[in-house]
């Protein structure tokens, strides 16, 4: 496809621009390394396309100004909000939207001061550090405490809003948090909500996606599951999902960590012959099945704290 009508009468090819920006490669790595998250990937693809087209429009002398890219990530625990935010800085840098592509993570205590006049310098300091990159505010709803009208969080929000509006091309702000609390936060701060162009909702993972995630995690940790253990993990995921306090990928990681623990203690207390490389790598069904999730399912009772030991 070619775009014609540039002032000098020339034309631009979309293909060349796509290759130049590493667009497809970027999205491919994202697809390979993050399981599921379809709405998130769709949005990233849209943003990437917009930035690409904006670049082409610039070449033919059309200008709409920098698009606003402030984002809010909402979703249940363990759905990958922080992971994606960390990625976002690199993606936006590769697309040439932010100049430096570093990420500054901040929480309430980095932004809000403890006494009058303390908040503004603190917030500005963090904003200055984030310029040219991405400012990631995790659990942003803690900034605003409606129950305390003398809370300094409001001041931090106002400074943040001002910079988000006026220095749009200097930094991108990403707010993240649990869905219901973020909704309440935006309701009480309509200015914040309207300055954020992209509200991205992170869906819960399906059991199949959770198993894929477990596979990726094990690969990274250089472990593998025996076929029986794999079957046990499928059952585990189904049981664990039904329990309270299920934290998606985080619960899976914790389960795998505990399985590693049990595998280690099994190998130490009951060494069946010499330890081979294979034995050191393999997690057996009994390591998974020793989990409390199975015991509770057998007894038909709910676990008290939801922790799956």
């Amino acid at each position: 496809m070619t775009v014609t009508g540039s002032p000098d009468g020339g034309s631009l090819t979309l293909e060349a621009a796509i290759t130049d920006s590493g667009f497809e490669q970027l999205l491919a790595t994202l697809d390979a390394e993050l399981v599921g998250l379809v709405p998130v990937k769709t949005r990233i693809r849209e943003i990437a396309s917009l930035l690409l087209i904006e670049k082409l429009r610039g070449q033919v002398g059309l200008s709409a100004g920098a698009p606003s890219l402030h984002m809010s990530f909402t979703g249940n625990p363990g759905t990958g909000k922080t992971t994606v935010a960390l990625r976002m800085a690199g993606i936006l840098h590769a697309l040439g939207y932010v100049r430096k592509g570093h990420l500054v993570a901040a929480t309430r205590d980095d932004l809000v001061g403890q006494f009058i006049g303390h908040t503004a310098p603190k917030t500005k300091e963090v904003l200055k550090r984030a310029m040219g990159g991405v400012l990631f505010i995790d659990e942003a709803y803690f900034l605003y405490r409606p129950e305390n009208e003398r809370d300094y969080g409001q001041e931090a929000i106002e400074i943040l809003l001002q910079v988000m509006e006026n220095q749009r091309d200097d930094l991108v702000v990403i707010l993240a948090g649990y869905r219901d609390r973020m909704e309440r936060f935006f309701q009480s701060n309509p200015g914040m909500s309207s300055r954020i162009a992209h509200h991205v909702d992170f869906p819960d993972y399906t059991p199949e996606e959770l198993l894929l995630i477990a596979g990726l995690m094990l690969e990274k940790m250089q472990y593998r599951l025996s076929p029986e253990a794999e079957a046990a993990l499928v059952e585990y995921v189904a049981l664990r999902r039904a329990q309270p306090n299920f934290a998606n990928a985080r619960s899976i990681r914790n389960a795998l960590d505990r399985a590693r623990l049990r595998q280690a203690s099994r190998l130490v207390t009951d060494p069946a012959g010499p330890l081979t490389r294979q034995a050191l790598m393999t997690i057996e069904a009994e390591d998974v099945r020793a989990s409390r999730v199975f015991r509770d399912a057998d007894a038909g009772s709910e676990p008290g704290d939801g922790g799956a030991r």
């Binding site: 100049r99 430096k100 550090r129 310029m131 220095q167 200097d170």
Partner: protein, 139 residues
């Protein structure tokens, strides 16, 4: 009389784009950039007032430019300079320092002659601006 202190002082005043490029250069080298101001232009006045703390952990010049603009807005009639401190062991001093804001009118310096014992003359210079109390100089 135009004050010439620091780097680039014999050049025309730097534009914002040029200042940004210089700051970018400092940040690339890992120097800590700070902003200072004064209304006493005496050449031996080495220690100017700090405008905020030196800025560490900055990756992009935009943060420093915001600080420079804030300093200019607060002290439009003062001298404002940007300093870049290199903390490398063995260097540990200011690498670059240049003026980014100056008063509209700079009255210059008077040469003072002090007659000491035996017709010896001691010379001194004194800024005309410094006749007025601190904070009221340069209008």
């Amino acid at each position: 009389m135009r004050l010439t202190q620091g780097t680039f002082s014999f050049l025309p005043d730097l534009t914002d784009a040029q200042i940004r490029a210089q700051v970018e250069y400092c940040l690339e080298h890992g120097w800590a950039v700070s902003v200072e101001h004064t209304d006493d232009p005496h050449p031996r006045n080495t220690y100017w007032e700090m405008f905020g703390l030196p800025m560490f952990d900055i990756h992009d010049a935009a943060g420093v430019m915001a600080e420079i603009d804030a300093a200019r807005a607060t002290f439009p009639h003062h001298y404002v300079r940007v300093m870049a401190f290199d903390s490398t062991r063995g260097v540990e001093s200011v690498r670059l320092s240049f003026i980014v804001n100056r008063p509209a009118h700079e009255p210059g310096f008077a040469l003072l002659r002090d007659e000491a014992a035996g017709r010896t003359i001691r010379y001194a210079i004194r800024s005309y601006a410094a006749d007025r109390p601190e904070g009221e100089r340069y209008g």
